[in-house]
C-alpha cells in the first residue's frame, strides 16, 4: 500500500488533461478554484458503493469508475446543464489492491476527459467499504429544467430505451452475461445525456433522469408538479431483443422498463400543443387525477406491477 499523499500526488497527474478555461486552481491546495463565469451553477453529488450499487465482478475497475462518474453527471443532464468540474471523494478499504485503485481512477480520469469535466479536487479516506462519491458542478442559464414545471395534459417523453440496464444487471447477478452482452454493456457503460438535456432546455416543461426506475422517477415529477400521470405500456421504447430475452429469463419486460433503474435516460414533459421535441419517445401524459402514476395496457386495463423502483432502506 502506498501512502495517502503519494496517492494524491499520482492522482493529480492522472487527472490532468481535462482542464477547461474555468479551472483556476485544481488538485493540490486546500480547495479548488473555479471561475464563476456566466450563468448559474448547478451542483449535485452521487455515491456508488460496493455491495449496494455494484459488485466488483460486475465490471473491470476502470468501468466501475467511469460508471460512477456518468451516474453523477446524469443529474446535471436532467437540469439541462453543461458540466464544468467534479470532485472525487473515495473511501477505500486498506487491503484494496493498488492496481485496482489505479484502474478505478483511470476510469474516472477517462470519463472526466470524455465529458470535458475535469476532476479538480476530492478526498481519500480509508474505510471498510469501497465507495465513490462524486460531486459535479455545471453551468446553466436560469434554473435549468426543474421537476416541478409539468402541467396537466403535458405529454411525457423518454430518451433512448428503457429497462436494458436492469436486464443487463440481472444477467450479471445471474452470472449469465454471455446471454445478452449488449444489455450488460447498457448497465456497465451508461452515458449521461448531457447533450439531450441541453437540447431540451427551454423546451421541456419538467425533466428528471432515470436512476431509480422510470415509474418512481416520474413519481417525483408528479409530486413536485402536484399532478398524476398515465403511461401506455405499448409505447415504452425497448431495445431490440429486450422483450424476448426478458421473457426467456422469466422476467416481465414492462416491470424492467418501468421499475428497473440505472438507464440514466431522461424523462421529460412537454405541452401537448408544442412541436414534437428534437428527440425522445412519447410514452404517456400528465393528468390531474389524484394518485400515483398509472400504466395502461394495450386494452386499456391498468397494469399492476410487482414492486417499485430502487430505494435505500427498503420502504
Amino acid at each position: 500500500m502506498t501512502d495517502e499523499f503519494e496517492r494524491i500526488a499520482r492522482l493529480r497527474t492522472r487527472f490532468e488533461g481535462a482542464e477547461n478555461t474555468h479551472v483556476l486552481v485544481g488538485i493540490g491546495d486546500d480547495a479548488a478554484v473555479l471561475a464563476s463565469g456566466t450563468g448559474n451553477l448547478v451542483l449535485s453529488v452521487d455515491t456508488a458503493a460496493e455491495g449496494v450499487h455494484f459488485e466488483r465482478h460486475f465490471a473491470p475497475w476502470s468501468v466501475i469508475g467511469a460508471r460512477a462518474f456518468s451516474a453523477a453527471l446524469s443529474d446535471l443532464a436532467a437540469m439541462g446543464a453543461t458540466p464544468r468540474a467534479a470532485l472525487s471523494s473515495l473511501i477505500v478499504p486498506p487491503a484494496f489492491p493498488t492496481a485496482a485503485f489505479n484502474e478505478l481512477n483511470v476510469g474516472l480520469a477517462e470519463a472526466a476527459r470524455d465529458y470535458a469535466c475535469p476532476i479538480i479536487g476530492g478526498n481519500l479516506c480509508a474505510g471498510q467499504q469501497l465507495s465513490l462519491t462524486t460531486t459535479v458542478i455545471g453551468a446553466v442559464e436560469g434554473t435549468g429544467t426543474l421537476r416541478s414545471g409539468a402541467r396537466a395534459g403535458d405529454l411525457i417523453y423518454v430518451t433512448g430505451a428503457l429497462g436494458s440496464a436492469a436486464l443487463g444487471l440481472t444477467l450479471l447477478q445471474r452470472s449469465a452475461a454471455e446471454r445478452g452482452p449488449a444489455f450488460v454493456t447498457r448497465w456497465q457503460r451508461p452515458r449521461a445525456r448531457i447533450d439531450a438535456g441541453r437540447q431540451l432546455l427551454g423546451i421541456a416543461s419538467a425533466m428528471i433522469d432515470i436512476s431509480d426506475g422510470a415509474l418512481q422517477d416520474l413519481g417525483h415529477i408528479c409530486e413536485e408538479s402536484g399532478l398524476a400521470a398515465e403511461l401506455e405500456a405499448e409505447r415504452l421504447p425497448l431495445d431490440p431483443g429486450m422483450r424476448e430475452l426478458a421473457v426467456e429469463l422469466g422476467l416481465d419486460p414492462f416491470a424492467l422498463a418501468l421499475l428497473g433503474g440505472e438507464d440514466y435516460e431522461l424523462l421529460f414533459t412537454l405541452p401537448a400543443a408544442s412541436a414534437p421535441p428534437p428527440l425522445g419517445t412519447c410514452i404517456g401524459r400528465m393528468t390531474d387525477q389524484p394518485g400515483p402514476p398509472r400504466v395502461l395496457a394495450a386494452d386499456g386495463r391498468v397494469l399492476t406491477l410487482d414492486g417499485h423502483g430502487y430505494r435505500h432502506f427498503g420502504g
Copy 2:
C-alpha cells in the same frame, strides 16, 4: 427504518432556514442551483467516517454532525473564502437508529445556519460504515490564499493554540474525558476559522488549515512553495494547562502540538518585512535549506519527534 424519500423530505425541512440570496434551487430536484455571483468559486470535499475519524461514544450525534461540517469548511477558511453552500452525502448502515440519524442531521443543520452556509443538496445511501461526506462551495476574490505563495525568509504564524484537540482526543480514547473537559471540547467542537481566513486574504503569502498535524501541514506549504521551514518549539502557542496535563498523561506536549491533527487552526506565512498580521502567533520562518521542516528546541538543538501527522493507509 423509514424510507429513503421520506427521509429526504424530512431533511429538506430540517435544512431550511439557512438559505442565502445565492440559492436559487435547494433540495428536491436533480441538482441544486446557485447564482454564480461575483468573485470565483472555491470547492472542497471532506469525509468523516466512523471508526476512522470518530467513534460514536466520542460525542453526541449532533456534535459529530456539526464537527464534520466544520472540518469541511476549514478548507474554505484556508483559502480565505466565504462559504456559500454545502452538499451533504451520507452513507448510513441499515440498522442505524432513526433517532441518531435525526440528531446527526440536526447537528449538520445547526452548523449550516451557524456558518450561514445552507445545505442545498446531497445524497443518502445505505452502507456498512457510517460516513459523512460534505462538499463545500465558497466565493473568493482571485484564487484565494494558496499553499504555494511562501518565500524564503517569510515568517510562519498560526492562529489559536496547537495540540489541544489531539489532547482531547487522547482523553476520549482513554475514557478519561473528565481529566480535561476543555480539551475534549476542543476536539469535539472545532470552529472553521472563516473570519481569520478572510482577514488574512491579501496579507498572508501562503496558508493551510491544520487537519493532519501542524508539521505535516506546514510540509505541504514547503513542498508547494519549494522551500523548507524552521520552527521554534518554545514559541508554539499552547492552551493554559495543556503542557502540564500532557506530561501527567505521559505525552509529549510538543508532539501533540506539532503532530496532533484536527486543531483546524490556520497556519500561514508572511514576508518578514510586513507589518504584524491582525492575528496569530509567530512560530518560525521559511528557509531555502533542503529537507523537511525542522523544529528547534530553546537551546538550538533540532528536536526529534516520534512519528508524523495523520495519514490514511499508513506510509
